[in-house]
């Protein structure tokens, strides 16, 4: 099931460049972050539609919003904390409140910048963005889904935040059109529902092999859209399995797990176990895989936590 490894940033940059060939309204903003966001080809092919601002993320969001008022579709990508935490009020007012058609993309999300330290990790971006009314949050799970998510994000009219990682990720799924707000049942099962998003999905799929050996039949739901949540899908699954686990590379407080917990809070007999990073300043590591293991977010750790939750 797990296929070719691809660089998420290059995949993203290429996808936007392809779309820009057809859609002349697409423009790109950079804050000294263009080439590292995969926009090398875009810069060569559409220099007049590429705006290098320098290191000024707050200004870039404002300028992108201004350009959106005139009908353009600005895509602004940089390191995740610098497009979310840093310019938060500009995102809230100029993109959210003003409903401007800006596509904000946070790369090297979660703990993928494992060794750069706390300032460069992004474990609160779902939490920040979900508080902005009218915001859409995408977290595609594999390279093909990143490509399709780019198409959907640019077709959709309104503010979007998309989150992508840094290390290469494998192809997991067949190509299909990306429908914003829709999740998928990756595998059916009745013992527990595991809800995953973004890069965690690969590890959940691997964890499932360990769970199968232990005789646990998990229903696995993939959420390439975190906001709006696919409420019907999640509520139906919870009604069936009663036990729900959420998995995300984000603080366990305030992110997708919190959203799911809030959604299910009125359902009798349903409990939710949230997996993610505890609400602390994360430790750092030279190696992303090591750090995932440290936080029990690799396949082994996820399987261990699910088993413990089910008392097995």
């Amino acid at each position: 099931m797990i296929g070719e490894l691809m660089d998420p940033r290059k995949t993203f940059g290429k996808a936007v460049t392809e779309i820009a060939k057809e859609n002349k309204d697409v423009v790109v903003f950079s804050a000294d972050s263009g080439k590292s966001s995969g926009f090398g080809d875009f810069i060569d092919q559409f220099p007049e539609r590429y705006f290098e601002c320098g290191i000024m993320e707050q200004g870039a969001v404002g300028m992108a919003a201004g350009m959106a008022t005139a009908g353009k579709i600005p895509v602004f990508c940089a390191i995740a904390p610098f497009v979310t935490c840093r310019p938060y009020e500009m995102v809230r007012n100029d993109m959210g409140y003003m409903k401007q058609n800006v596509k904000l993309v946070g790369r090297n999300c979660g703990i993928t910048y494992s060794d750069l330290g706390v300032t460069h990790q992004s474990l609160d971006d779902f939490g920040l963005m979900r508080l902005i009314p009218g915001m859409t949050i995408l977290a595609p799970q594999d390279p093909v889904e990143i490509e399709e998510a780019c198409k959907a994000m640019i077709e959709y009219e309104g503010p979007v935040y998309m989150r992508i990682g840094n290390p290469k990720i494998p192809v997991l799924f067949e190509r299909k059109p990306f429908v914003i707000g829709k999740g998928d049942i990756i595998q059916d099962g009745e013992d527990v529902t595991i809800i995953t998003t973004g890069s965690c999905t690969k590890d959940v799929i691997e964890a499932n092999e360990i769970l199968k050996e232990a005789g646990i039949k998990a229903k696995i739901i993939g959420l390439p859209t975190v906001l709006p949540l696919d409420e019907d899908l999640i509520r139906d699954a919870a009604a069936e399995t009663k036990k729900v686990v959420t998995v995300e590379e984000h603080y366990i407080n305030g992110g997708m797990g919190s959203m799911v917990t809030e959604l299910l809070s009125d359902m009798d007999g349903v409990t939710v176990k949230r997996l993610g990073i505890p609400n602390i300043y994360a430790t750092t590591s030279s190696n992303y895989q090591e750090l995932l293991a440290y936080y029990d977010l690799d396949a082994k750790g996820i399987a261990k936590s699910v088993k413990a939750y089910l008392g097995k």
């Binding site: 290191i55 000024m56 706390v118 300032t119």
Partner: protein
């Protein structure tokens, strides 16, 4: 320290920087090397600091606003005696206190946490303001990248420091001409840097070659004598200085050398140290 000793120390710090980044397999050699001389000058000549007593109240402060130059800061601190030089090889390793960006809570001698560009200078202004308020005579030095000064926060801090006449604040701009996406004037020109700081009521000292200790010496002596306004030292440097294939190359902003490159870099620095 005399000039020769400063040069020798700076050369050792360059070796430490390259070695730390090599053992981390990631990190930022370019800006660390352009700033190696001025940081050596600060720690070994200019600042009143004591590695045995890193928190002493009347010490001069240093804020590395361009936090990605952590390898340079850690190397200076280690050579000065704040912690073992050996530890530099643990940079960015699991469990090491030497994270990718400076962390004041875990690293002796680090006066301010940094990593998000533009933020350090505001903290430095706060420190300088505190000294004024409590009639303390320590000074505050902060080092910024020439790309970093594109951040609006830098100019908020500068406006405040100028308006409040914080003459105990010395802002140093490492004008190596490069940032990640290329030349600073192609990306989004911050020039004229000198006139900008002057317009914000700074005394501006331009240094033609910020990798030359005589010129640094002259600039910091002038800064010491400045009264009634903050100082900006705007110094031209060479990014990657001291390692031939890294010099003036944007590609070496944030990349570790491989085995062969490491060997060559160390040979070049070894040679320079003997000269």
């Amino acid at each position: 320290m005399n000039k020769e000793m400063l040069q020798k120390t700076a050369n050792q710090i360059r070796k430490d920087i390259v070695t730390a980044v090599y053992s981390a397999k990631s990190g930022h050699p370019g800006g660390s090397l352009s700033a190696a001389d001025v940081m050596t000058y600060l720690y070994f000549e200019e600042m009143n600091v004591d590695p045995k007593n890193p928190d002493k109240a009347d010490r001069d402060r240093f804020v590395l606003s361009k936090g990605h130059n952590a390898p340079a800061l850690y190397s200076c601190l280690a050579e000065k005696g704040y912690f073992p030089v050996e530890d530099l090889k643990t940079l960015r390793h699991t469990g090491s206190y030497l994270q990718g960006h400076p962390d004041m809570k875990h690293i002796p001698g680090v006066d301010m946490t940094s990593g998000s560009l533009g933020q350090g200078i505001s903290a430095a202004v706060g420190m300088a303001l505190s000294a004024k308020l409590f009639n303390e005579d320590y000074r505050v030095f902060t080092l910024l990248g020439d790309g970093e000064i594109q951040e609006g926060q830098v100019w908020e801090a500068a406006m405040f420091a100028g308006a409040k006449k914080l003459d105990n604040l010395i802002v140093i701009v490492d004008n190596n001409g490069l940032q990640i996406d290329g030349k600073i004037d192609d990306v989004c020109s911050p020039y004229p840097i000198i006139d900008k700081f002057a317009a914000f009521n700074f005394k501006v000292i331009a240094v033609e070659d910020g990798n030359d200790f005589d010129q640094l010496d002259k600039a910091f002596n002038e800064a010491r004598l400045t009264d009634g306004q903050p100082v900006a030292i705007v110094m031209k440097t060479v990014k990657g200085k001291g390692v031939s294939f890294m010099e003036d190359q944007a590609g070496w902003h944030g990349k570790a050398p491989n085995d062969d490159e490491y060997k060559q870099a160390m040979e070049e620095l070894e040679k320079a140290g003997e000269a």
